[in-house]
């Protein structure tokens, strides 16, 4: 595909920063190998944990002679980030680190990630390519309703949107009525947020008598949680927009690791910066393209915090067929499950995080909850107990019944499963030490 002057018009060529999306494969591999060698050397010289693991295996940076040699290197896992909290995996002195982000840390200590000035430029360019893939361009007014702060979503999307030349409306999360008012009054044409939050906005807009389908809004870029094709349909029909899935994780950079293009058939990984492998999560063997397994990512250009073979726990496959959009970088299937916390009920994959999202969407605060799976007459049932907090409680029966209804509806909307919801008194759900236990599977007992 030729780079054209008028890349700002949808369907008329591409943004110059998106050029690596279209590199001839041989040239891409050459670039990847050059960057891989440099990043392995950088991590070896600056990160003691990585150096130790290399030494144990008798490896040095010189052991990397081809992309296939990546398979020799040790994996990095989430616990490594916790064990070296806060700065143990940094490869740059603090004087070169210009930004820190951190996870919400449901298990105590958060995961901390760092960026140099160059890292932020790479991240912004990856987010630019993400938005460009969704057809966003200069002249678009984009409402960014990802949370701003320690979470990578808000600022990650923000700088990508500014880089592409769109007008950013940095609303961050929450205050749905104001989100809808600004969307309408500003003539917003694009939105980026979590898919469940946007579903909530669609419903709230209906209650307020605002028909999103009649607004200039035409495109949504959604990520940070797994979402189904069913949710995509509801979003596209409910708001009259095109809804694109994006992928990313803080450990690698944040959003911007991969994104859907106009074909909406898999997510292109920006593999000139983030090199994907698929492994068998049990044997840890690398699987050929096309086979399903756990996604492992290596940051090829990250300076402050290189990640070598980071196990994402996300289950997907690399799509081998070329994409109709013309991009040469490879695609992965949409992430539908993770290897650690998912359960299957009536053939549907459900994640505790989806229940969490559903509960959060109702009142904006996450109540204490648990999921109880039972089997009655051969049919699996999902029960969700939600503790009533002082914030959720009302002295009026009607208000409590409405709360019950909204919570149950939100869970069904996001998981596609009708749950038996029970409101329970505070402190009645067992607390566990360390990581909260969310799922009680009583189907086999």
């Amino acid at each position: 595909m030729m780079l054209r002057e008028n890349w700002n018009d949808v369907g008329q060529g591409f943004h110059p920063v998106s050029a690596p999306d279209y590199l001839p494969t041989a040239q891409l591999h050459e670039l990847q190998l050059r960057r891989l060698k440099a990043i392995v050397a950088r991590a070896y010289e600056n990160v003691p944990l990585f150096r130790e693991r290399m030494d144990e295996r008798g490896l040095t940076p010189a052991s990397i002679e081809s992309l296939a040699d990546l398979a020799k290197l040790p994996f990095t896992i989430k616990t490594d980030l916790r064990d070296t909290y806060p700065f143990g995996l940094f490869a740059s002195p603090m004087s070169e680190v210009v930004r820190l982000h951190a996870s919400s840390g449901t298990t105590g200590k958060p995961i901390v990630v760092a960026y140099t000035q160059e890292d932020l430029q790479v991240w912004a360019s990856a987010m630019l390519r993400t938005f460009a893939s969704a057809g966003i361009h200069r002249g678009d007014i984009v409402q960014n309703a990802y949370g701003y702060g320690l979470f990578t979503g808000g600022l990650g999307a923000h700088y990508g949107l500014e880089a592409i030349g769109a007008t950013v409306v940095p609303t961050s999360g929450g205050n749905s009525d104001r989100q809808i008012m600004l969307m309408r009054d500003f003539g917003v044409t694009g939105i980026s947020c979590t898919p469940s939050y946007f579903l909530h906005l669609i419903e709230r807009a209906q209650e307020l008598g605002v028909d999103l389908r009649e607004l200039p809004l035409r495109v949504g870029v959604f990520g940070a949680e797994p979402w189904s094709d069913g949710m995509r349909e509801r979003i596209e029909e409910g708001a009259g927009i095109k809804a694109y899935d994006i992928y990313g994780l803080s450990e690698i950079t944040g959003p911007g690791v991969g994104a859907e293009c106009s074909a909406q058939n898999g997510l292109h990984i920006f593999e000139d910066h983030f090199y994907p492998e698929i492994i068998n999560p049990e044997t840890l063997e690398v699987l050929p393209d096309g086979e399903e397994g756990e996604l492992v990512l290596t940051t090829l250009s990250k300076r402050a915090m290189p990640m070598i073979r980071y196990r994402t726990r996300d289950i997907t496959r690399i799509i081998t067929e070329p994409c109709s959009c013309g991009r040469t970088i490879r695609r992965i299937d949409r992430i539908r499950r993770r290897s650690d916390d998912m359960f299957i009920i009536r053939g549907v994959n459900v994640f505790p995080s989806q229940i969490e999202t559903a509960l959060l969407a109702v009142e904006g605060t996450l109540p204490h909850y648990r999921i109880i799976l039972t089997r009655s007459k051969g049919l699996d049932q999902m029960g969700v107990e939600v503790e009533v907090s002082a914030e959720l409680f009302s002295d009026q029966v009607r208000a409590m019944e409405e709360l019950h209804h909204r919570l149950a509806h939100s869970i069904e909307r996001i998981t596609g499963i009708r749950a038996g919801l029970r409101l329970v008194e505070p402190h009645t759900i067992p607390r566990s030490e360390g990581k909260a236990r969310r799922v009680w599977d009583e189907r086999n007992s």
């Binding site: 002082a390 409680f393 002295d395 029970r422 409101l423 008194e425 402190h427």
Partner: protein, 143 residues
């Protein structure tokens, strides 16, 4: 003129109401009037007590939610049509009743109803203007 009501969330299973009342008894809280609105799964307990702060502390100490709500104690003539006449005033003033229940004892010659209005302040003003006797907490609880 408003009365502070305590309300609490009670799961609809054996022993929960008793445990809430036991928590109040242990702290010496005397319940003047109680109303329990129930659904299949849960109930909402509403109490009028002499010392709402003590009741709230007792319930919260036992792990219950306790919330203050302003309600209005209205004197009702103890004769046929007494309540109807009060409600006519409520309608005439355009006041919205969320729920109501009877106070357990009379004050002097009169029955008392506890009414949860959407807007308690406006209800007190409107009712007094129409000559309806709104009972002060001090008088109500001096039994």
């Amino acid at each position: 003129m408003k009365v502070t009501q305590i309300s609490s969330f009670i799961e609809n299973r054996p022993g929960r109401l008793h445990a809430a009342c036991a928590a109040l008894a242990a702290k010496g809280v005397n319940i003047h009037t109680l109303s329990l609105a129930d659904t299949r799964e849960f109930g909402i307990l509403r109490l009028i007590v002499a010392d709402p702060a003590a009741a709230k502390a007792a319930l919260e100490g036992a792990g219950y939610i306790a919330k203050f709500t302003d309600v209005v104690a209205v004197e009702v003539p103890d004769d046929a049509g007494g309540l109807s006449r009060i409600l006519a005033h409520v309608d005439a003033a355009g006041l919205n009743i969320e729920y109501m229940y009877a106070f357990s004892t009379t004050v002097g010659e009169h029955a008392i109803v506890i009414i949860r209005f959407t807007d308690a302040d406006r209800a007190v003003a409107e009712l007094q203007q129409r000559g309806v006797n709104v009972i002060e907490p001090v008088k109500l609880l001096a039994q």
